[in-house]
């Protein structure tokens, strides 16, 4: 009665259900919508042609993300021979147009996220955003678990620095205005 359609089907039929997450992961690597979609397209073709290497019953999203990141880094290596610094130029392009407070906050967040080095963006996209375990992410990136952990931690710490400057000492301070007032008050004491 509860037959799992994913098991009985051609695994290629399942590809379509992973397009959304693939686009999100690609965007966190490229920080540019058009580039991200080109990356998804190339990865999709690779996945289709190498579908035999997918082991049914395993996590298809992990498999696809691995293909996607490998494709990203190989394109990047090729490009870095042509461009001196492929990173850091497009920072900020990821941001979305702010419509209301929630979106503004998100746009600000994306701006900060785009400033992180690619290894940290990757670690956070896998562990923080997609819900992979550190072990899974380490497998997908071909590095040690400790490496993924430290990349994610450094990324988080940097985001806190960028988004909440001077706020790290105030544990329950989520309102920036309140924090600004407190900081202004604290300044007098600090300089004394």
């Amino acid at each position: 009665m509860t037959a799992d359609p994913a098991v009985s089907q051609d695994p290629r039929d399942e590809l379509v259900t992973h397009l959304g997450p693939m686009r999100a992961f690609a965007l966190s690597l490229t920080r540019n919508g058009a580039e991200a979609d080109d990356l998804v397209q190339e990865s999709l073709v690779k996945a289709w042609k190498n579908i035999e290497s997918f082991q049914s019953g395993t996590n298809m999203q992990a498999w696809l993300f691995t293909i996607l990141r490998n494709t990203f880094y190989s394109i990047r290596r090729k490009r870095s021979r042509e461009v001196a610094d492929p990173d850091g130029i497009v920072a900020g392009q990821m941001s979305v147009k702010p419509a209301h407070d929630g979106r503004l906050q998100l746009a600000e967040f994306l701006d900060a996220f785009a400033q992180l080095p690619v290894e940290q963006r990757e670690a956070l996209a896998l562990v923080g955003a997609s819900g992979f375990s550190y072990e899974e992410a380490a497998n997908m990136c071909g590095v040690a678990v400790g490496t993924i952990k430290s990349r994610a931690n450094r990324g988080r710490a940097r985001l806190v620095e960028l988004l909440h400057p001077g706020e790290t000492g105030y544990a329950d301070m989520t309102d920036r205005v309140t924090a600004a007032i407190v900081n202004a008050g604290a300044q007098g004491r600090l300089s004394a």
Binding site: G20, V40, Q41, L44, W48, V160
Partner: protein, 51 residues
């Protein structure tokens, strides 16, 4: 180790934003080019099998 860690409220907020940013993109309508591509790949395969 503990004193270098950012406060948990800020960490939660960042984790939240991360998931939200990802979810937003992931749940966008998939552009037709990808569905077309999948159809094209399927057709190619079928043509190869027939010949």
């Amino acid at each position: 180790m503990h004193n270098e860690q950012p406060s948990s409220a800020l960490e939660d907020q960042i984790a939240d934003n991360l998931r939200r940013a990802f979810q937003e993109r992931a749940s966008e309508k998939v552009p037709d080019r990808f569905l077309d591509l999948l159809r094209q790949l399927r057709t190619q395969d079928e043509t190869h099998h027939d010949s």
